[in-house]
């Protein structure tokens, strides 16, 4: 018990100097060292990104012109533009999204709201496997599927969309599932207590609450597949003229266009290379626009969940 009174005597006089001693020099040194290290690591990670952006901008901007955006490459040598490729990318991506988004969101709803037991575990496993499918495999699958019905050598815009949706669906499912998990259970309980059938709880409470997150997830999946080259090479083919019908004939797109211009530059090499870089720059610009759009939509529609 004497220790207690000693403590009582020592506690008060020593408290004041302890508190006013401040942070020792050693701690400050470690603090600075770690700040430098972490800042340096961040800068190191940013270097490839910025250097890439810089290079593409530097080499792509000379290739940009009004002609680039408005005319296709039909019948020209060295001149022409990539309007057909831009239109093709947008159309193929839009059709791929139209296929993937309903399938992906419905699968995510099943996995999160209804699934139990073996079927759910099996589905989750297969979705995880699908996220790792190489893109060329997806392309060959789409080609084989259409060849079955339409004969060999077939090339269609929609085949590219099918190949891209094979890549897109697992991403949509995964991100949608995460977003649906975030919707708190007490909202579902409140709707249950009002006597609402479960499917209507999903469509009228869960999905609207998760809307912003779902849109973001879809945008991310689209940004992922918009620059895929390999599957489109084997499915949509290479063509020089504008084609806006995905169900009829070959369709050019920016990724394949860039590849083609670089690989077979023809007679006027520099013009072709310029075109390739400009196409790459346009692709990056499209991805950037999609990302910004995703953020704007998220901020506008997000629901503060307390």
């Amino acid at each position: 018990m004497e220790g207690a009174s000693e403590l009582a005597v020592h506690a008060r006089p020593q408290a004041a100097p302890l508190l006013s001693a401040g942070v020792g020099w050693r701690r400050r040194a470690v603090n600075t060292a770690m700040t430098v290290l972490i800042g340096g690591a961040f800068a190191l990670a940013m270097i490839p990104l910025f250097s890439l952006l810089f290079e593409v901008a530097k080499r792509g901007i000379p290739g940009l012109s009004v002609e680039f955006f408005t005319s296709d490459a039909r019948g020209v040598v060295g001149g022409g533009g990539a309007a057909h490729a831009i239109a093709g990318t947008l159309i193929i991506t839009a059709v791929a999204a139209a296929i993937s988004v309903p399938i992906g969101i419905m699968a995510a709803v099943y996995l999160n709201e209804y699934g139990t037991g073996r079927l759910r575990r099996g589905l989750t496993f297969f979705v995880d496997v699908m996220t790792g499918i190489p893109s060329i495999v997806a392309g060959l699958f789409a080609y084989a599927l259409f060849e079955l019905f339409l004969g060999p050598g077939i090339r269609l815009g929609v085949m590219g969309s099918v190949a891209l949706s094979v890549l897109m669906v697992p991403i949509v499912i995964r991100s949608a599932e995460e977003v649906l998990k975030i919707v708190p259970d007490h909202l579902r309980e409140a709707a249950h207590a009002l006597g609402t059938p479960k499917w209507r709880i999903v469509t009228k409470v869960v999905l609207p609450t998760a809307f912003a997150g779902l849109v973001t997830g879809v945008m991310i999946a689209v940004a992922r597949i918009v620059g895929e080259t390999a599957p489109l090479l084997v499915t949509t083919g290479v063509v020089d003229s504008m084609n806006t019908d995905p169900f009829n004939g070959r369709m050019q797109n920016l990724a394949v266009y860039a590849y083609n211009e670089y690989r077979s530059p023809g007679v006027m090499k520099q013009a072709a290379y310029d075109h390739a870089w400009a196409a790459a720059l346009t692709l990056i610009a499209i991805v950037m626009v999609l990302n910004v759009l995703a953020r704007v939509i998220y901020r506008r529609y997000k629901t503060e969940i307390r």
Binding site: A190, A191, H192, A193, G195, V205, T209, E304, I305
Partner: protein, 298 residues
């Protein structure tokens, strides 16, 4: 070990307020029938109710009658099964995966768990208000109150919907505070207002019974008093069951009190005693009840 008291409380006091013609048992929820617009509140009876989560028994052998047009308070220490029992009354207990109900729950004589009974129909007759206010964040105040109608796709003309919303908000003592901002989101209200909004939402579908799971535990004393006044007024039209940790609240705001207890951790909860509130708090029959209400444990 305290013996369980299975008591059926006969209606000793005369039925106080409004009573309409008694509804015949055929109008019960057997085939998802809609309740009459302003029918009398119903009696709930539990008989030999056992509630399980998987293989773990949470509640053992509850038999009691919940009187119409009265506030019944369920009290007891944490984990003794009061909320589990409450949730079995509107078939919310079975939403938990693995949850199981054995025994009988009847709503005015009709078995709520009978084969062929649609749980959705039961929940439309027995409403629930939760511990934390949970208005739907994507909906405005107006849409929150009308959610019971919208979510069930009942095609209601706008004028009728307006009057339902106003009636419910007035009934929840919230109309004057929000009548100018019905289009604003429900999350912009204070805690007490949100809880009253949830009560308005629950009574908008005109249930017969209102279950309240610790409705005031997340609220400050002023808001608590407002909710208690509200339940005192609502009991004239609904049967109300309230789970509460707060003994003072049970003592001042309820007509009948049921005391639940648990024998030890891991054991199922059971009903010890049920009776008129002043009896339970002044001269209870069981020692465990006396110990609990006088604060000796729990």
């Amino acid at each position: 070990m305290l013996g369980t008291t299975k008591r059926r409380i006969e209606a000793r006091q005369p039925r106080a307020e409004t009573v309409g013609p008694t509804t015949a048992p055929e109008q019960a929820p057997a085939r998802g029938a809609r309740a009459a617009a302003s029918g009398p509140a119903k009696t709930i009876e539990a008989r030999g109710l056992d509630l399980y989560y998987g293989s773990f028994q949470a509640v053992r052998d509850v038999t009691m009658t919940i009187e119409p047009n009265k506030v019944t308070a369920l009290i007891g220490s944490s984990g003794c099964g009061k909320t589990t029992f409450l949730r079995s009354l509107n078939r919310m207990h079975e939403l938990t995966p693995g949850a199981r109900v054995e025994g009988k729950v009847t709503l005015d004589g009709a078995d709520v768990y009978a084969k062929g009974v649609d749980p959705v129909a039961v929940r439309r007759l027995v409403g629930m208000v939760f511990q934390s206010p949970n208005p739907f964040p994507t909906m405005s105040i107006y849409d929150n109150v009308a959610a019971g109608l919208n979510l069930n796709a009942r095609k209601v003309p706008k004028a009728q919907k307006d009057s339902v919303v106003e009636r419910s908000l007035r009934g929840a003592h919230l109309w004057d505070e929000v009548k100018d901002r019905l289009a604003k989101p429900g999350s912009g209200l204070s805690g007490g207002q949100q809880q009253r909004l949830c009560i308005a939402r629950a009574i908008a579908v005109e249930p017969e019974v209102l279950l309240m799971d610790e409705p005031c535990s997340a609220l400050d004393p002023v808001a608590t008093l407002a909710i208690e006044d509200l339940t005192a007024e609502l009991k004239s039209r609904y049967t109300i069951v309230v789970v509460t940790h707060n003994m003072q609240q049970a003592a001042r705001a309820s007509d009948i009190t049921a005391f639940f207890n648990i024998e030890g951790s891991g054991r199922p909860g059971h009903l010890v005693e049920v009776g008129p509130t002043d009896e339970i708090f002044t001269k209870p029959r069981q020692q465990a009840t006396e110990d609990y209400v006088s604060g000796r444990f729990g």
